[in-house]
Amino acid sequence: MPEYWIGDAEGRVLGPVSLDVVQDLVNSGRLTEITQVSRDGRNWGAPPSFPEVMALLLNAPSPEALLQSERLEAGRVREQLQAMQGRPPHEIFRLDRNASVDAYRNAFFKLVKRFYPDRVRSQAHPDLRKAYADAFQFLSRLMVHIERELAEGGVVSPLPVVRAVPPHPVDDEPLTPIRTSPPQPARPLTVVPRSLTPPPRPGPPSTPAHEGHYSYKPYEFVGFERQGDRVEVTIRVTARNSRMFTEHPLANLKTDGFFLACAKALPLGTLVDVIFRFEDEHREVRSRGRVILENTGGDPSRPTGFGVRFITLVDQDRRFMQQYVDRAAAR
């Protein structure tokens, strides 16, 4: 089988792989910046020197065709989601009726991965992004439901139907940066700054979110900054607002997430880089997550804001955060 090495703009190499694989990756939009090609991994040339590779690039689906196929894929995902709703969870995950929580978790991770919004290219058809986000959210809620029912010793029942949050127009309002400490070195996961002395936070008051449950004012502690296809959310965590990790039934630390009650609700599926600043502990925790819940005010019985499920949160940080909220609750 003919073998190819493909180089990208960042100097990374994929190969040897067959031309079929190159075709798959080009057609799915996952390989868009081929800068060099080789047949032996040693001698490299520009793509035009390899007519068969050039043909793939030239025959790559047009943006319109790609959008059309993504729209069709969105329809298939919606059908699949419809078929899952109301079915017993063990059937959805193809498990035995008495499967353990670990078996459910493993099956969940395998299935939900297909719908990770990361799998959709950034310019994908909005229907596809929405379909993936809906499926991702359904499965995430289902897993929370399963964990609860099994923890209570019950039999796992289908997920009750939940009223959907009404759709809202995409919010392109500029996000507000927050910089309360000098820029951090590149990508440390846990940083213990020597001092964190945030300046006073000027700014207009936001709508209090669901007063009675969330008593803080979001502008006091949270900042947003758009970073390409993701949003960096910086949160100054205090005992007062640590309920963000415990209050929401679906997005809380035990379900690998948190709910940020604030006037701005990020759209479902938004990728967020979260920086939690536990200033009284002189500790910073970084994580990456995905918006799995949003309420822009359509459901007045719930606080406005958005829920995030962590994609990456290391155990050490999770333990620290759990201890923090436990201490805060005991005060």
């Binding site: 990208d8 040897p16 792989v17 067959s18 949160l313």
Partner: protein
């Protein structure tokens, strides 16, 4: 089974850190390499499991996979990649990978894949 480390090979320092933190609780010694060449130049006991990225500078993950299999024939190699073409998965498995995990991954998924590889 050797008492070697779990070897993480990925050019992305963020991913290496994540994997290191995710596996820290399992109690296995860990080593890291930024690319295939660096991985192959490591001395000491054979790794018990290798977690290998596919798209890396200097030496691709597939090349590294072949050389790692030559050097440590009994060490299972788990490929971790954002490239999720079915045919690529098939080719990686044919090239000797013991498993293929697509990014983004979850800590439980990584831990259970490593445990399965160790038990195999």
């Amino acid at each position: 089974m050797s008492n070697g480390p779990i070897l993480i090979v990925d050019d992305d320092a963020f991913v290496r850190t994540l994997l290191r933190e995710m596996l820290a609780d399992q109690g296995h010694p860990l080593r890291e390499a930024e690319n295939g060449q660096q991985a192959l130049s490591l001395d000491g006991p054979a790794p018990r499991v290798v977690l290998l990225d596919l798209l890396m500078p200097q030496m691709s993950g597939m090349e590294a996979l072949a050389l790692i299999r030559d050097r440590w024939p009994t060490t299972p190699v788990l490929v971790i990649s954002s490239m999720d073409s079915d045919r690529l998965v098939e080719e990686a498995l044919q090239a000797g990978a013991a498993g293929y995990i697509t990014k983004p991954f979850h800590p439980v998924e990584i831990a259970s894949a490593v445990e399965r590889a160790l038990a195999a």
